[in-house]
Symmetry: C2
């Protein structure tokens, strides 16, 4: 295998996954067609099956792909900020459904829906959700350690409620993406931070 071929293989694989994510966003998980994915990746259905045995394999890998990207983006953005307060506020703005991020929310929604019926995906969802809640939990703990946040609240409890509020309202913002709704989501999340953490 040449250097070119190796690079090409990775590119092709990634192109297929990116295409699969786009197709799931556009058509939905259950309505995604292998031919859609192939067309969007600029290849043939045969090649899609060359890299992934079945359609489900492509879609599962695509979800994994999207999840890794999202988490990496969060980490990269947060590591640049030193203050827990800044990190939490940044996390809010990073994840408000808007343009690219709306696509990410769409993937989560499709994922939840599919996970309802498939054990492996439910397990995956649990991991991803735990990681997401854990990220908030860690920020809160850091903030408490640095004396920036109130010690009255339980970090794990706060993290769960913060994540829940984010998901629930974010979902409606995804479906009704008006400026006002985005503003309300932001205000609600910042309000919780102010009321509960910043005494």
């Amino acid at each position: 295998m040449s250097v070119m071929a190796a690079a090409s293989e990775d590119d092709r694989r990634r192109a297929i996954l990116d295409a699969a994510v786009a197709v799931v966003v556009e058509r939905g998980y259950a309505s995604a067609r292998v031919s859609d994915i192939a067309k969007r990746a600029g290849t043939s259905t045969g090649t899609v099956h060359y890299y992934f045995p079945t359609k489900v394999d492509v879609l599962d890998a695509a979800l994994q792909h999207a999840s890794e990207r999202s988490h990496a983006r969060h980490r990269a953005e947060l590591v640049a900020l030193s203050e827990p307060r800044e990190q939490l506020l940044r996390l809010i703005d990073l994840q408000i459904p808007d343009a690219d991020v709306a696509d990410e929310w769409s993937i989560w929604l499709e994922f939840w829906n599919e996970a309802r019926r498939r054990d492996e995906l439910r397990a995956r969802n649990h991991e991803i959700y735990t990681r997401w809640v854990g990220m908030i939990d860690t920020i809160v703990r850091n903030g408490q350690r640095q004396g920036q946040f109130s010690l009255d609240i339980d970090p794990a409890d706060f993290a769960l409620r913060f994540a829940g509020l984010f998901d629930g309202l974010g979902l409606q913002v995804l479906l009704q993406p008006s400026l006002e709704n985005r503003w309300r989501l932001r205000a609600a999340l910042r309000g919780v931070v102010e009321r509960e953490l910043l005494t």
Copy 2:
């Protein structure tokens, strides 16, 4: 048309809608088959098409059906309670994903997912969500008028956050329906009521 026939027609229609809801819960909106619905309703695919021109018509009517049932149930339960505080706490227990209610949550999840791609469903989701938030809003206003709830908070704002928290955490309970998760959901919601409304 005889009295029997008239009753039979309504029964058939309802049986088809009930079956459609069950199939959407079991297989998902996009994977629901007309033949599944027919079999579950104890009839033929021809009859399903006799009452509903297309599959989409059946499924949309089924969503409507489920939504009306859910709202009627809420109203019926709440009207029996006089105290706004009791009403809000009852609403929590009424809607925690569990047994039958889990099916209802499944329908919402399928519905949100589908609504993402279809304008009419997005509009319907907006109506249903507004009604749900409005129900909470009304309870809070009543509680404030009766001096039972704190006047410091804005009812509309509280209702939105309460509904968002309910949806976000409820979704995860649907996917991981452990006793512990149900308890956490309940505790989180009751906690918000206690902290913010009961001064």
